[in-house]
C-alpha cells in the first residue's frame, strides 16, 4: 500500500515538489550570496560579533520559507484530492483508511524533509564558508523551530483542506495558524518553546484523520 500511495503522490505533486525544491535551493543560494556581501561590506569581526555575541540571526531571510513550503506542498497534494471529490477513490480502496491517510501524510512529509534538507545544507555551507565551524550547530538550532513550523504548516493545511464542513474548516485554519505560530515565537529563555511545541506535531497528524472520518460519515452533502 505504502509504495502505491508514494508513487501516486509523486505523480500528483512531483512537479510542485520540484518547484519547491528549486525555490528552496534558490533561497539557500540567496543566503550564501547575501552573507558574502555582508562580509564584503563589513569587517568579519563586526559580523561575527553581531551574530555570535549579540545573537542577530544571519539566516532570517529563511524565516517563513519552511512554513510556506509546507503549506504549498499540502496544497499540491490535497487540492487535487478534493477537486471532484477524488479522495473517494482512495477511501474506497480495500485498505485501512487511517493508514492510507497517514501514508499520504508520510509522502508529503518526506517531500517537505527533502526541501528542508536543501535549506539546511544551504545554511551549513554558508556557515562553513564565513563562520567558525562551531557556529554550524548554533545556526541549525536557530533554524530548527522554523523547520518545525514547516511541518506544522503542512499538517495544518492538510487539516484545513480535508475538512468537508466550511465552518469547521475555518476553525481548522485557526488551529493550523496557532500550531505554526508556536514555532515562530522567539525563545523565552530556558528551553525553547518550540521543543515543547514539537510534541503537538504527532497530535496534529492524528487530528488530520478526524476530518477524513467526517468526510466519509457526513449526513449532508
Amino acid at each position: 500500500m505504502l509504495r502505491a500511495v508514494l508513487a501516486k503522490e509523486l505523480h500528483k505533486a512531483g512537479r510542485w515538489l520540484a518547484v519547491l525544491l528549486a525555490a528552496n535551493a534558490l533561497a539557500a543560494t540567496g543566503l550564501w550570496l547575501r552573507t558574502r556581501t555582508l562580509f564584503h561590506r563589513e569587517h568579519a569581526e563586526i559580523v561575527w560579533y553581531q551574530v555570535m555575541q549579540l545573537g542577530h540571526p544571519f539566516c532570517d531571510m529563511l524565516r517563513h520559507l519552511p512554513l510556506a513550503t509546507g503549506a504549498g506542498l499540502a496544497l499540491a497534494q490535497f487540492l487535487p484530492e478534493m477537486r471532484d471529490e477524488r479522495l473517494r477513490l482512495s477511501l474506497h480502496l480495500p485498505a485501512d483508511s487511517s493508514l492510507l491517510i497517514l501514508a499520504h501524510l508520510a509522502a508529503g512529509l518526506a517531500g517537505l524533509a527533502a526541501c528542508l534538507a536543501v535549506q539546511a545544507a544551504g545554511i551549513a555551507l554558508t556557515v562553513r564558508a564565513w563562520f567558525p565551524a562551531e557556529m554550524t550547530g548554533h545556526a541549525l538550532a536557530l533554524w530548527t523551530p522554523r523547520a518545525l513550523a514547516g511541518a506544522a504548516g503542512y499538517l495544518g493545511m492538510a487539516l484545513v483542506l480535508l475538512e468537508p464542513s466550511f465552518l469547521r474548516r475555518l476553525t481548522n485554519v485557526c488551529i493550523a495558524a496557532a500550531a505554526a505560530g508556536l514555532f515562530l515565537l522567539p525563545p523565552q529563555g530556558g528551553i525553547p518553546l518550540s521543543l515543547w511545541s514539537a510534541a503537538s506535531l504527532p497530535l496534529l497528524a492524528l487530528a488530520v484523520l478526524h476530518p477524513v472520518g467526517r468526510y466519509r460519515n457526513r449526513k449532508v452533502d
Binding site: 509504495r3 508513487a7 474506497h92 480495500p94 468526510y215 449532508v220
Partner: protein, 297 residues
C-alpha cells in the same frame, strides 16, 4: 432474503433541512441482477447512490451492501464492490499504465489483461496522461479499472454522463460482455434511458418522498401501455387515478399511460364517464415508458 440481497435498504430516512428525501424507503437488489434506478430529477437518486457508496450516512434506517452497513464497509467488502463516480472521476494526473499499477496491489484478483484489452481499443500509448483524454476515452479507462478489479457488485453513478452515442454504446456493450457469466450484480443510474434496454434486467422507479417500485424490464415494457384517445368536444378528459397512471394532453388527443389491458381500461374510463371511442394502443420505447410512468415535469 437478506442473505440473497446484494443491496438491502430498509426504512431509510433522509432529509436535507426540511426537505424530506426518503421517509421509510425499502429496496432490495438481488444478487446477479442488473438493476437501474430511475426517477425524475430531485427524487433522491444521487443521494441513494451516495449512501450506497458509503459517502453519506443515512439519518435513519438500514442500508446494507453485500451484507455490510453501507457507511462502514470493511476492507473485505470494499474489495468486492466497484464504484463508478459521476463524471468518470479518476486520478487523471496519472498515465494509463500508472493508474493500473496504482490500483493493482489492492486487489488480489486483479486482472490486468482485462484492463489492457479495453484501453488498447483507444489506440493510445500507455504513457498517455488521463487528463488529456476525452470524456469518452476516460470512461473506458475507468471501466477497465473496474473490470480488472472483478467486483461482485458494481455501483455506477450516471455512467453515460458526457459520453456521445458511440462511447455510450461501447460502454454498454463492454459492460454486457463483462456481465455474461451472470454472477455479478450491477446497480446503476443514467440519464440516458434508451441504452438500458441492452443490458438492464430490472428497473426501480424512485418517486418523490422515497417510494420505490421495482419491475422486471421486459415485464414493464410488456405490461405498461400507452393509449391514444382523440379529443372530442364535450367529452371530459380522463384524469390519473385507478389504473390510469398518467395522462399527457396533446393538441388533438390525450395519451393515457396504464398497466391495464385495453378492454379493462375502456371499461374503467366508461365508468368514470369518459367515452373511449378511438382508443388505440401505441408502441413505446423504454424512454417513452419512463416519461409516461414518471410524467414529463
Amino acid at each position: 432474503m437478506e442473505q440473497e440481497a446484494a443491496i438491502s435498504v430498509q426504512g431509510l430516512r433522509h432529509r436535507y433541512g426540511r426537505r424530506v428525501i426518503y421517509d421509510g424507503l425499502d429496496l432490495c437488489v438481488p444478487r446477479g441482477r442488473v438493476v437501474a434506478l430511475l426517477g425524475k430529477n430531485g427524487v433522491g437518486k444521487t443521494t441513494l447512490i451516495r449512501i450506497l457508496m458509503g459517502f453519506l450516512r443515512p439519518m435513519a434506517g438500514t442500508c446494507r451492501v453485500l451484507g455490510a452497513p453501507s457507511h462502514a464497509l470493511d476492507e473485505a467488502t470494499r474489495r468486492r464492490v466497484g464504484l463508478l463516480f459521476e463524471g468518470h472521476v479518476a486520478y487523471d494526473f496519472m498515465t494509463i499504465a500508472q493508474i493500473e499499477r496504482f490500483h493493482a496491489p489492492f486487489y488480489p484478483a486483479w486482472n490486468r489483461d482485462l484492463y489492457y484489452d479495453l484501453v488498447q481499443r483507444l489506440g493510445l500509448p500507455h504513457d498517455h496522461v488521463i487528463a488529456r483524454m476525452s470524456e469518452g476515452q476516460r470512461s473506458q479507462v475507468v471501466l477497465g479499472l473496474l473490470m480488472a478489479q472483478r467486483p461482485e457488485l458494481l455501483i455506477l453513478d450516471d455512467y453515460s454522463m458526457g459520453l456521445d452515442a458511440g462511447y455510450r454504446r461501447l460502454f454498454v456493450d463492454m459492460m454486457a460482455e463483462y456481465l455474461r457469466d451472470g454472477e455479478r450484480t450491477v446497480f446503476l443510474t443514467s440519464h440516458v434511458i434508451q441504452d438500458m434496454e441492452r443490458f438492464v434486467e430490472d428497473i426501480v422507479f424512485l418517486e418523490r418522498g422515497g417510494a420505490a417500485r421495482r419491475f422486471g424490464l421486459r415485464d414493464f415494457l410488456r405490461d405498461f401501455c400507452c393509449y391514444r384517445l382523440p379529443k372530442s368536444a364535450g367529452r371530459p378528459l380522463p384524469e390519473p387515478g385507478g389504473s390510469v397512471r398518467n395522462v399527457e394532453e396533446h393538441a388533438g388527443h390525450v395519451e393515457i399511460f396504464s398497466f391495464a389491458a385495453p378492454d379493462a381500461l375502456a371499461g374503467e374510463l366508461a365508468a368514470r364517464g369518459c367515452a373511449c371511442d378511438g382508443l388505440e394502443r401505441l408502441p413505446m420505447s423504454l424512454e417513452d415508458a419512463f416519461i409516461g410512468y414518471t410524467g414529463r415535469y
